[in-house]
């Protein structure tokens, strides 16, 4: 009886160790999403196209992806949206991507420096706005209000493009803002506003439009000093090079421009 029981006791740590492994996988997920599923595109038939794109392009590129699939029957477009810095990191580590669309020239440079893409084209520009909850609890109406220590502000971390742009805009205005958090990408920053956990955040105008109804956007003049150029390139090691080039052409076409400007992006 005694032995029997202690055998079960020994099984407990094992079960826990397994659970710990699972939990560990979950927590490391944000760093390497969606690379496994995209490996299908490495087949030589090239009916799958994998596009790595900045988080702020989620809505517009998803729409363009559908357009592309309709124009190329039998082709499926897979997206990996995330912070441009993370995506650039994944591409240089050998993730099988065909197209990279970044939210800043700096993150694209990581990829061109590694000779994985040549001659990226700037296809849109994006501007920051102040996002506040619909009821605007802290009565924010200009950039200066964010430096009030009573106003809870979320900014993107400086390492990601929207954070770099926020630093530039605040510097241009000569303001010092101490946020309560530096978020890992622009969508996470916006979420904090949507949930009402912060009074204001600096995000892209396009993100404010995408979350219409859940947040209110406030334009501010200093945003003009921190405009982000979005470069796009077909990757030189693309598993589906022809499709990659065609997708880039679609984004640069007038049809692509329509979709992007409708979402709040500006022409370069």
């Amino acid at each position: 009886m005694f032995r029997r029981v202690s055998r079960w006791a020994a099984a407990v740590p094992l079960a826990l160790a397994l659970a710990a492994g699972l939990a560990g996988c979950g927590s490391s997920d944000p760093a390497t999403p969606a690379t496994a599923s995209s490996s299908a595109s490495s087949a030589s038939g090239a009916t799958a196209l994998t596009v790595f794109a900045a988080a702020s392009l989620t809505e517009t590129f998803t729409e363009l992806g559908k357009t592309f699939e309709a124009a190329h029957p039998g082709t499926s477009v897979k997206f990996n949206f995330g912070s441009s810095a993370t995506l650039a990191q994944q591409i240089t580590q050998g993730a099988p991507a065909d197209v990279f669309a970044a939210a800043s020239p700096a993150t694209m440079k990581t990829v061109t420096d590694a000779s994985l893409a040549t001659a990226p084209t700037t296809f849109v520009r994006n501007k920051l706005q102040i996002a506040v909850p619909p009821d605007n609890p802290a009565k924010v109406d200009e950039l200066k209000d964010l430096s009030d220590s009573k106003v809870k502000v979320a900014l993107c971390a400086e390492q990601v493009p929207c954070g770099a742009a926020a630093v530039k805009a605040l510097d241009a205005a000569g303001l010092k803002v101490t946020p309560v958090t530096y978020e890992q990408d622009v969508k996470a920053t916006l979420t904090k506003v949507e949930l009402g956990e912060v009074d204001a955040a600096l995000v892209y105008k396009t993100d404010v439009l995408a979350a219409a109804g859940k947040v209110t956007g406030i334009a501010f003049p200093e945003a003009d000093k921190a405009i982000n150029d979005y470069p796009i390139a077909a990757l030189s090691k693309a598993p589906a090079p022809d499709l990659a080039k065609q997708f880039v052409d679609l984004v640069l076409s007038s049809q692509g421009k329509d979709v992007l400007t409708k979402a709040g992006f500006e022409a370069p």
């Binding site: 005694f2 079960w8 006791a9 740590p13 079960a15 997920d29 990191q89 309560v180 530096y182």
Partner: protein, 282 residues
């Protein structure tokens, strides 16, 4: 007390080194091959970290104040979270193991939810309950002016939420494996249930509690998703080591490797130290 206590949890492992002498004969390949594969699988990524580490600039990178700040914050929050888990988790495990109540199976299933929940989802759930506009959070803010998101207390809560099931399951397992006859003997001698818990049960399952606490602490130390979602990321206040590693990875993979190595080294040293002192026992 000690011999019976050692039969829970660690007892099986302690008999481990002996069996080659007890059971004679060849070690079966069917066990050795997967065991070796398993070990390689677990150790290889660590080796990868060691190989790619920028050893020449290691010292100066470690000397950056932000690094030590993140390490200190990680150790402090994981330790406080573990203490909270012990305070709440051990009684919970006892309730599950020793008291029959109608919804016990349901309660046990619910308690393990944080184990299967993606940590980011756990963080969102915490925001919806304890956030500024959350069910409990808005009341906390109105009544006491307490706001938990974006604070160090928020980090502790996120870590405790994710790590507590590890402790509860581990302690409950130890309680179920413990010899009930000792508790029954104490009861026949007139001891109350509280006295039995304190004087008999607790010493009996102490190794199980320590093992559970170690797992709990380790999980809390590595916590990422719930922390960044619920507590945000601000150096010195809520930026723990895993968050610092993630953000360093965005721009400077080498810095991320250094941070990972540091976290790894510190946790291994602490766990190994604890193991010698507590888990194996005097």
């Amino acid at each position: 007390m000690t011999p019976s206590a050692s039969s829970t949890g660690r007892g099986g492992a302690r008999r481990g080194p002996g069996p080659a002498g007890v059971v004679a004969g060849r070690v079966p390949w069917a066990l050795v091959v997967p065991a070796a594969l398993g070990m390689v699988f677990l150790v290889l990524p660590l080796a990868g970290l060691l190989v790619r580490a920028p050893w020449s600039t290691l010292a100066e990178r470690l000397a950056e104040p932000q690094v030590l700040e993140a390490l200190r914050l990680s150790l402090v929050t994981a330790t406080i979270a573990t203490l909270i888990c012990l305070l709440l988790g051990v009684p919970l495990a006892w309730l599950l193991a020793r008291v029959g109540f109608p919804a016990r199976r349901l309660v046990r299933a619910l308690i393990t939810v944080p184990l299967v929940l993606p940590p980011v989802v756990g963080g969102v759930a915490l925001l919806l309950v304890l956030g500024r506009r959350g069910l409990v959070g808005q009341w906390l803010e109105a009544a006491f002016g307490i706001s938990l998101p974006f604070t160090t207390a928020g980090v502790v809560i996120a870590e405790a939420f994710v790590a507590m099931p590890f402790l509860v399951i581990s302690v409950e397992g130890a309680l179920r494996a413990a010899d009930l006859r000792l508790e029954e003997a104490a009861a026949t001698l007139g001891a109350s249930r509280w006295v039995i818990f304190r004087r008999v049960t607790l010493p009996l399952v102490a190794p199980g509690i320590v093992a559970g606490a170690v797992l709990c602490w380790a999980r809390a130390l590595g916590e990422f998703g719930a922390t960044i979602t619920f507590a945000g990321n601000f150096p010195g206040r809520t930026q723990t080591m895993p968050l610092a590693v993630y953000l360093a990875l965005e721009t400077e993979p080498e810095a991320a490797i250094v941070l990972s190595l540091l976290l790894l080294a510190v946790s291994v040293i602490i766990l190994a130290g604890l193991r010698d002192r507590w888990v194996t026992g005097p």
